[in-house]
Amino acid sequence: MIPIYVEKGIGYLWNSEHWYILRTQHRICSAFVGSVPSFPRQNDFLGLPIALSSEETALLVEKRICELHEMPAEFCKYEPTEKDKELMEEFLKKVLEQQASALKKRKIEQLSQKIDIIVAGKKKNLINKGMSDANIDKDAMLEEEIKRIQDLDPDHTLVQLPQEMYRNIETSPVGLDVLRPNILEGDGAIKYSIFKDLWEKGYYVTSGSKFGCDYLIYPGDPVQFHASHMVRCVCNQENVFHPKSLVAFGRLSVAVNKYAVFAYRTQCARIAYQTLQWHDSMDS
């Protein structure tokens, strides 16, 4: 079971493998909200952690793919103890050693490949200086070169910034009622049932706020496809539509080349859909 950590009503995930599983196997595309350590000072590409919308979180919990955890309250005021500092130093030293040994191994490999060229070069040098027939031992040459490799300077190493908490923390399980906006009652419940219905039909469903609708439907992974439908949820069926909001919705769908769909819950608690389409011409 993949854990989702809830804070202030929003679920977060830090583990990159879990994110990959959620996206490829379970069709949940969440939103990246963190900064990418190797790509700082820009807002176009964000990184882990991902923030899941309440509908996505509720769906994953219902389908028993994830479970919700809450961090302990004292976690916010975390201050490292001496033991923690020691552990961290050990960790960093280990990382440095591993990098140094890997680098040395790579350099030895490179030298072994090029040793013939080096020997030939040295021989030419000696011939030029007039000393011929000097036997140059290939292996001794290699040993000499290897000794000349410098040790890795700590300043030139890569430091890993762990995304996920690398220690075990006591977390407490929580229910769906902590999620904000609320999906258990009112408009949130209707929107959630529409989300679930669309997900069960096999689509990828993401937020549509930048298009003025509630959800965007993709026939495949959003990375490969454009959205095919924009869905607006009608929660209150008593309210009358302003003609101008209908026109705006229809006009927008034409401008961005998607189907404009209204989704609502019928009396028998099933979800029904209505597409709004621009009629091309008056005569057929």
Partner: protein, 355 residues
């Protein structure tokens, strides 16, 4: 011009669009004499019928919309040249003539409203029949003309007389299929126009009341009575419960010097033009905040997105009512306040790249 429009946007010169010879006008243009136009209320909006009034009203302030044109009324001087219409329009007029009898009617609006009722009845009955089907076509299937109309057209061709009362029109084939040889195969026919389509200027209720109350240059006629301001106000308020808010906003922006036109085609309430529709594109889309329904972020984002794709900005307008005033008195209009919020969409990447 808003910040979004580039300065290379083509504009039309006002004088080229409205050429007018002053001698043809029958109204005196002396400043001391006020011109009073006449509008006829038909239950939905106010019609202005005389061609001179139509020209003047549209020229001075872009009021109204031509009933047979896309926006600007295109008045045809029928004394000199015959009207040129397409075949489907000609068949449609013959259809109307057959349906509504030999009235030779010049008031096509009443027949149009009757057609509208018939159309809605047909859609409802169609909807009940085709309940199983997925698509309900809002365009009536009545559009397909029966082929016996073609015979009547031939009959009419043979029997037209050149009396002055009959209007002769030139009928040309439909240009739906974009064939290359449209002009080569063009065979214009002279036929008798059975129904005179007199173009009227349609004023929305807000425009009409502004002309009557704000400018004092329109009198509204309903049921053959000339209405005074209070009666006019009551009548217009009774038909549309949002009329007060809409009128306050219309009056407010007209007073600022904008040309205010209906904005339904962009999903808003009004459009603001600096000079007029034919001259430059609209700058702002007005969306009036509803006092009954709370505006949610998604709808507003939708409006902003439409505005972005059409290079306009959204003005969210709220009308503040004074306490304890009924909507019956037009005199207390000055107590209403209008609050504006300008919404634009700025994409950081485009802004940063422009540097």
């Amino acid at each position: 011009m808003t910040t979004l429009q580039s300065e290379n946007c083509q504009t039309n010169d006002l004088n080229d669009l409205f050429p007018m010879s002053i001698e043809s006008l029958r109204f005196p243009l002396d400043n001391s004499i006020q011109i009073i136009f006449t509008g006829y209320y038909n239950g939905y909006n106010v019609e202005v019928r005389s061609p001179e009034e139509i020209t003047l009203l549209y020229h001075m302030g872009c009021f109204g919309k031509g009933s047979a044109s896309r926006s600007r009324p295109a008045l045809v001087n029928s004394d000199r040249y015959p009207e040129i219409i397409r075949k489907r329009q000609y068949l449609q007029r013959n259809n109307w003539y057959k349906k509504f009898g030999d009235s030779g009617c010049t008031l096509v609006s009443s027949t149009l409203l009757k057609e509208l009722d018939e159309l809605t009845a047909k859609i409802v009955s169609d909807g009940e029949k085709l309940k199983k089907k997925d698509i309900i076509d809002l365009v009536s299937s009545d559009e397909e003309f029966s082929h016996d109309d073609v015979d009547t057209e031939n009959a009419v061709n043979q029997s037209f007389s050149t009396s002055e009362k009959d209007e002769i029109t030139v009928v040309i084939p439909n240009s739906d299929s974009e064939e290359e040889n449209y002009f080569a195969a063009l065979k214009p026919q002279c036929c008798v126009n059975k129904i005179k389509m007199q173009e009227k200027l349609i004023l929305t209720p807000e425009e009409a009341f502004f002309l009557a109350y704000g400018l004092g240059s329109l009198q509204v006629v309903y049921n053959n009575n000339i209405l005074d301001l209070e009666q006019c106000w009551t009548l217009l308020c009774s038909n549309d419960r949002h009329f007060v808010d809409r009128y306050v906003v219309y009056h407010y922006f007209r007073s600022k010097g904008y040309v205010v036109k209906p904005g339904i085609k962009f999903g808003g309430d009004f459009l603001l033009y600096k000079d007029g529709p034919g001259i430059r594109h609209a700058d702002y889309i007005i969306v009036i905040k509803s006092d009954t329904k709370q505006d949610d972020l998604i709808t507003i984002l939708g409006h902003v997105r439409v505005a972005t794709t059409t290079v306009k900005e959204i003005l969210l307008v709220e009308v503040l009512k004074p306490n304890g005033v009924t909507s019956k008195l037009p005199e207390s209009l000055h107590l209403y306040h209008v609050k504006e919020v300008l919404l634009t969409r700025n994409i950081p990447m485009t802004i940063n790249n422009d540097d």
